[in-house]
């Protein structure tokens, strides 16, 4: 897509427009649209640097484009039922949240969290650009610097810097490759299983001697490979002491395993500040989306039950965990001939954790009539960065100055999603 015409200004104007219309007087909108960085008189006194009191901010990356409409269906919409004869539900088949939106019935565990006030839904949310390209949208979503494409770091990496993280295990990604969001100057450990990062050593020499020589061999290397080696050795030795076992039964899925690993680190007292967890399931459902027993139905079971297991596993630490699901785009409103959904734009995000002011759906709902759609897609009326900013602000103690370093040229709004950690 043509990036020269990214429509950023147009988007911002639209978002402001929706803010006025949608937030004021809409029963769906919650929060009030207060600009976090406005001269609003709000004072944030909390010191961020080195603050051990901050949450573990976890992103679950729903890579592939999660259909927000199937996850959180707008109720009472005959138009939706017409456009999606096989990929939408009767209202009564969903788990109604507020009589306006209903959760997919396989998100039962989310309904419980919602009812307990620990899960909030943000809808018609997404990236400001919307190219419908997985790779461009994912990349820019993780860079989160739309007006500054030259910025060579991801937003979670900048968060680590701003939060004053000094521990090499403060940033974690349970993936095989380093995601863009954790690329940059702050160190972050990338591994899927603690068993994979056990250094075996050599038969004939002492472990400590071997590790010292490994460090020495890497000391002068200027590549990232060389620069990160010492941290890898130190981290591996610490992770070797982490007990990976748990009595909690997780779903036997990629996400279940990854959250189990993350929980083991948190329980072991590893001072994780932020973690990226890739969902791992297939969300790119161009065909046979499987809303009842197939692909998407299983995805929703996996997502919600893995998080429920994680909550049970971290137990008392749940109060200092905030999880945000994030996706590069939603799916087309109309289903295609293959009972699938092509790439769209607006989607939904879930925010859950011990510090979440849950039990609500936050949206400037744009509507599903032709005039409301963008090239046939649910419009994005809320920038995903508002959600991230608010979490980092209130659960990570970020000041306005911190936030402007993490999310440059962005004016975050308070959506009322989380409690202030102080």
């Amino acid at each position: 897509m043509n990036h020269k015409n990214c429509g950023c200004e147009e988007f911002e104007a639209m978002e402001r427009g929706f803010s006025r219309r949608g937030f004021i007087g809409s029963v769906l909108a919650v929060g009030g649209g207060l600009l976090l960085t406005d001269a609003s008189g709000l004072q944030y006194a909390m010191a961020a640097t080195g603050d051990t009191n901050t949450d573990v901010v976890v992103t679950i990356s729903m890579r592939g484009g999660m259909d927000g409409i199937m996850a959180v269906q707008p109720l009472g919409s005959p138009r939706l039922r017409t456009l999606r004869p096989t990929l939408s539900f009767d209202d009564s088949s969903t788990l109604s949240l507020d009589n306006h939106f209903g959760l997919h019935r396989n998100l039962k565990a989310f309904k419980t969290l919602y009812d307990q006030g620990e899960l909030a839904v943000v809808h018609a949310v997404g990236t400001p650009v919307g190219t419908r390209s997985h790779f461009d949208d994912q990349n820019s979503l993780e860079l989160a610097a739309y007006s500054n494409p030259g910025l060579a770091s991801g937003w979670q990496n900048r968060y680590l810097t701003e939060v004053g993280a000094t521990d090499v295990l403060a940033g974690i990604s349970t993936t095989s490759q380093r995601p863009v969001t954790l690329m940059g100057p702050a160190s972050a450990a990338v591994f899927e299983n603690t068993a994979d990062v056990v250094i075996h050593g050599l038969d004939a020499v002492k472990r400590a001697d071997y590790l010292n020589v490994l460090r020495e061999l890497h000391a002068k290397n200027t590549h990232q490979w060389g620069r990160t080696a010492a941290a890898t050795i130190t981290s591996a030795e610490r992770l070797a002491k982490v007990d990976p076992s748990t009595t909690v039964v997780y779903p036997t899925t990629t996400l279940g395993n990854r959250l189990k690993v993350l929980a083991s680190l948190i329980k072991a007292g590893i001072p994780v500040k932020t973690a990226n967890v890739d969902f791992g399931g297939n969300l790119d459902v161009h065909s046979d989306a499987g809303p009842v027993t197939g692909t998407m139905a299983n995805n929703f079971t996996d997502l919600s039950e893995s998080i429920a297991a994680f909550k049970a596993d971290v137990a008392a630490d749940w109060k200092r965990v905030t999880i945000v699901t994030i996706t590069e785009f939603g799916r087309r409103l109309q289903e295609n001939a293959s009972a699938g959904l092509d790439h769209g734009w607006g989607s939904a995000m879930f925010v859950t954790g011990g510090g979440v002011k849950g039990g609500k759906v936050v949206a400037n709902w744009p509507g599903l009539e032709d005039a409301n759609l963008r090239d046939g897609d649910l419009a994005v009326t809320l920038d995903y960065r508002h959600v991230l900013a608010e979490v980092m602000r209130y659960r990570g103690g970020m000041t306005s100055a911190n936030l402007s370093n993490i999310l440059p040229d962005f004016k975050p709004m308070d959506l009322g999603l989380v409690k202030n950690i102080v």
């Binding site: 897509m1 043509n2 990036h3 020269k4 592939g64 190219t131 419908r132 390209s133 997985h134 790779f135 461009d136 993936t175 095989s176 490759q177 380093r178 690329m183 450990a189 990338v190 591994f191 899927e192 994979d196 990062v197 056990v198 250094i199 075996h200 050593g201 050599l202 038969d203 004939a204 020499v205 002492k206 001697d209 071997y210 020589v213 490994l214 020495e216 061999l217 890497h218 002068k220 290397n221 590549h223 990232q224 490979w225 060389g226 990160t228 080696a229 890898t232 981290s235 591996a236 297939n282 790119d284 161009h286 065909s287 295609n336 001939a337 293959s338 699938g340 092509d342 790439h343 090239d375």
Partner: protein, 484 residues
Amino acid sequence: MATAKNLALESAALAKLANGFDPTERASFRKLGFKAWLEDQLNPNKKENDFVNNAMTNFLASNLPLAKLATTFPYSAKRGLVGDEAIQTTLLRRIYSSRQTFETLVEFFNDLIPVPVTVDTISRIQYDRDVIRAYALGRYPDMLLASSRAPGMLYFLNGATNTRSHPNENYGREVLELFTVSTKYPYVQDDVVTAARVLSGISWSRGSMSLVVNPNNHYQGPVSLLGWSDPNPGQTSDDILATSESMIRYLALLPATAQAFSHRMARRYVSDNPSEALIKAMAKTYLTTKGHIPSVLKTMAFSTEFAASGGAKLKRPSEYLASTVRALGLRLSAPIQTGDPTATYYFAGSPLGPIQKQLSVQGHEPFRWPFPNGYPDTEQAWTTMTGQVQRWNLSASLAQGLRGTGFSSVDYSAMLPATAKTPEAITTALATRIFGAPLAPDDHKAIVALVSKADVSKPGTDSVSIWASTATSLFFARPEWNMR
């Protein structure tokens, strides 16, 4: 007489245009010189070695035509085995083929226009053989056309269910974004829909295992995108195939495609950030030769930028594994057995299993990347804790000849002169033997210091082997060995 410049070029070429050197390959390079060596590597008639040829005869699916594949390996069973076969034959050839440059091209194209093994394993075997390998030394437009009609791609990006009433945009989008002009070209959503319409009605039949072109499912009428247009009558399957071929070939030969293709290739072979000048030169060759792959590769390989680019790129896990095994001259730990399609698991005991597993742990098993953009190809993406620890461990396992790697033990006695009897002498002799030159002084010193601490006091211990394996473990743990 080998000058420093010659050695740098030799080292860059063997690390980048092959999966690392082995003693035979280095000798061949020195005998022929770079140009003749690369010409030989790119010769479509270059003979594969007997070991690979013989090993390949043990695999069942790879040698069968598609229709036979479907009847021999019904979709209901053995699919996983066929997938393992696709992966293991790829690894076998990556490590041991004499046609090393060809194998690097095969890997490149399997990342450029990928079909994951999870889509359909039988189609995956066919795709590798009849699309990627068939055209890797030919022209990209031909490969792209074959790819657009291959069952693997038709299933992966939903061409198989793309119809006129509801075009499925998946392939239409990616053919523009990833396989041809890239997002640097200002195409719009309508162009994506047009590409999908042009290809609508082209599907695949699992029953007959053949392409099925149905005019009833094809969008009929004039179409145009990015300067191409066609009346697109779409009345017959020949009409539909002709229009779609015209579009694919047009897209494949646009300057923006030449640019995007050259960028991907230079990033694969040269460095994470190849210069604009190099990309431009490659793109020019691409356009003048109508997408002739070896010609573009040669423009890149014979550039001064390539010659100076040794050590600029991080090896991906599979390159690290292959290059280490090749440098040590290791063979498989056991012969590959003839497959038995009636057995539950006909690869039981195959030495390729643990090799496959090793790459799986590092997230780089062939054909497992689930997205159509291919495995990442940058140092940032692959510098991970798992990657570092696993490579250190693999280096140690191979050097010490531990069981379970899938490879034979190193025969140090054959690699060392009888005179090398001290940690110092052994380290020097081994490094020179393996790398063609001694290590950097600091590395040499650090390694000798550790080797000297090795415990050789146990009764029956062969001190030379212990010293040699300790040194070798560290040779391949060095950051420099992780770069190419």
